[in-house]
């Protein structure tokens, strides 16, 4: 009972509140269509009739939760995963671009951070560009990168991964610069008394010390990578992906399809971030650095 009170109840309360708001919103936003329809048919719309209609429209302004759940069920469990109507199929395409871009971004981020920490020139010159890169809206950059790369014959996974990388390297740079600088004066002096080289100090002290910072950055980077992959799927109709699915949905006013793709993307992000969290707990515990 106390476990329920402490852990389940707060979450449940929030979920219920969201559901109530969502259903109320669906009724409100979809009522105009229901009233117009009733008017054209010359019938008086009762309250129960209004509810029933607003929660079961084919192209509602705001689909009701159960419609989205039903759509997700229909397009995941009930579809062959190789079908172009399967969200698993589209999710996999987005996931592979996300993960590839995430690893590229993490690698680039760590390399830049190592350079910035070791070279004053890089600290002064690269950091402003890193920050500037993030002030440009990704929606402006993504189509250019996709189109340009397509024009030179690079298509499919890589251009999308590049966009993911573009978004995910930033938190890694910022976190790792802080992490690589986290050893205190005493620890650095100690390395100096042993006449350790910069490379040895990096491998034996700076990198292990930065691990907690790395994991925090990786969580943000993973979520950003997913956003990048989805945005990268929007500009031109490509061979599937959650972004493409949303785009097609918006062409044809298939709001339920858009929402189900959105929810699947959100769940995907949550699972990926949770995986990093598990890895973080195991690693930091083994390194004796758990809080």
């Amino acid at each position: 009972m106390s476990w329920f009170m402490r852990h389940a109840l707060p979450i449940l309360t929030v979920v219920i509140a969201i559901m109530v708001l969502w259903y109320a919103g669906a009724v409100g936003l979809n009522s105009k269509w229901a009233y117009d329809k009733a008017k054209r048919a010359n019938v008086e719309l009762s309250f129960s009739g209004l509810i029933a209609d607003t929660l079961s429209q084919i192209k509602p302004k705001l689909p009701a939760p159960h419609q989205v759940v039903a759509e997700i069920w229909r397009t995941t469990a009930l579809k062959n995963i190789t079908s172009r109507r399967s969200l698993v199929f589209h999710g996999w395409i987005t996931l592979s671009a996300t993960v590839l871009g995430f690893f590229m971004g993490t690698g680039l981020g760590i390399l830049l951070a190592v350079g910035i920490v070791h070279s004053r020139a890089m600290d002064m010159s690269v950091m402003p560009w890193v920050i500037a890169s993030q002030t440009i809206p990704i929606l402006a950059i993504a189509p250019m990168v996709i189109v340009v790369l397509n024009a030179v014959g690079v298509s499919g996974l890589l251009p999308k991964a590049v966009i993911s990388m573009y978004l995910s390297f930033f938190p890694v740079v910022v976190g790792m610069v802080k992490g690589l600088r986290s050893p205190d004066h005493m620890q650095l002096d100690q390395m100096r008394t042993w006449n350790a080289s910069k490379v040895q100090t990096l491998w034996l002290l700076r990198l292990p010390s930065s691990t907690p910072y790395l994991f925090t950055s990786l969580k943000i980077a993973m979520a950003a990578a997913l956003v990048g992959a989805i945005v990268a799927e929007l500009p031109i109709n490509q061979n599937g992906g959650l972004g493409a699915r949303m785009l097609v949905g918006s062409y044809y006013g298939q709001t339920i399809q858009i929402w189900s793709a959105l929810i699947v993307a959100a769940v995907l992000a949550a699972v990926l971030v949770a995986l990093i969290g598990v890895l973080q707990n195991i690693t930091l515990k083994r390194m004796g650095m758990a809080r």
Binding site: Q190, R192, T193, N195, P208, G288
Partner: protein
């Protein structure tokens, strides 16, 4: 070849700060012979730690000369002539005790077999045999500091520089570690430079006590201890011990250490 390990002549160090220059060390003349146990004592700001750090090539003197084993501190550091023990044990939490002691050995490129043999030897020396596989958090503060001393002993430096190594520990643990340190010193015949702000600790451990005072950091008195090499803990109740402690206190008073 003479047996002078440290030779400082008219050594000064001035830090430039926003509030003007701070004379951390001023006109330091000191020689330390091989096998001596030298304590530096004085109030904070007297430059005792700074002097140790100059010897370790962690600070650069502004003027004057200093040699370690006849060469500059930088050359001495590069030839790994000394082991340095800091106030905090500074063990890496992600390495076992054995792994921490192995750390400088890895950096210095000792062979695997040699590393293992040395780790076992120094663990024995600081009475931590059997703790090789433990992690730092599994050890008490005193044991961690012993591990850090073991780490400084693991490579063949014949000088041991210790910067208030027991300053963060309680007095009971401290007494015990002082006793052990003397045993260790007798066994290894190292030359030890030891910074402390405890008068009993300085008198109990040292063959030579350097009393310092602040603003500018300078040497007030150098006392060659008349105490015998064999020192049980209760030597601290003998008149000879109290006489030395008294002289240290007089030196500190002369240097205005008790003013604020």
């Amino acid at each position: 070849m003479n047996d002078i390990v440290v030779n400082a002549k008219n050594l000064s160090l001035t830090f430039e700060t926003n509030d003007g220059p701070v004379h951390a060390l001023s006109g330091i003349d000191l020689t330390i012979k091989k096998g001596e146990f030298v304590s530096f004592i004085g109030p904070s700001g007297c430059g005792k730690t700074t002097f140790l750090r100059v010897l370790a090539d962690l600070e650069q003197p502004t003027s004057g000369e200093v040699t370690i084993n006849g060469v500059s501190p930088e050359q001495a550091r590069k030839s790994r002539a000394y082991g340095f023990v800091f106030q905090a044990a500074g063990l890496y939490p992600w390495r076992t005790i054995g792994g921490n002691i192995r750390l400088p050995l890895e950096i210095m490129g000792y062979s695997k077999a040699d590393q293992t043999q040395r780790v076992n030897r120094v663990l024995e020396l600081v009475d931590l045999a059997g703790f090789e596989k433990k992690f730092p958090w599994q050890l008490s503060g005193g044991m961690q500091q012993r591990a850090s001393i073991a780490r400084a002993l693991a490579f063949d430096a014949d000088i041991l520089l210790m910067d208030e190594p027991f300053g963060a520990l309680d007095e009971i643990v401290r007494d015990h570690l002082n006793e052990q340190l003397l045993v260790l010193w007798a066994k290894t015949q190292k030359t030890i430079g030891f910074v402390t702000h405890s008068i009993p600790e300085a008198v109990y451990l040292s063959t030579k006590i350097v009393v310092m005072s602040p603003r500018p950091g300078r040497i007030i008195d150098i006392i060659d201890s008349p105490l015998p090499a064999e020192r049980p803990l209760d030597i601290r109740d003998t008149p000879e011990f109290l006489a030395v402690a008294h002289r240290v206190r007089e030196g500190l008073r002369a240097g205005n250490a008790y003013d604020d």
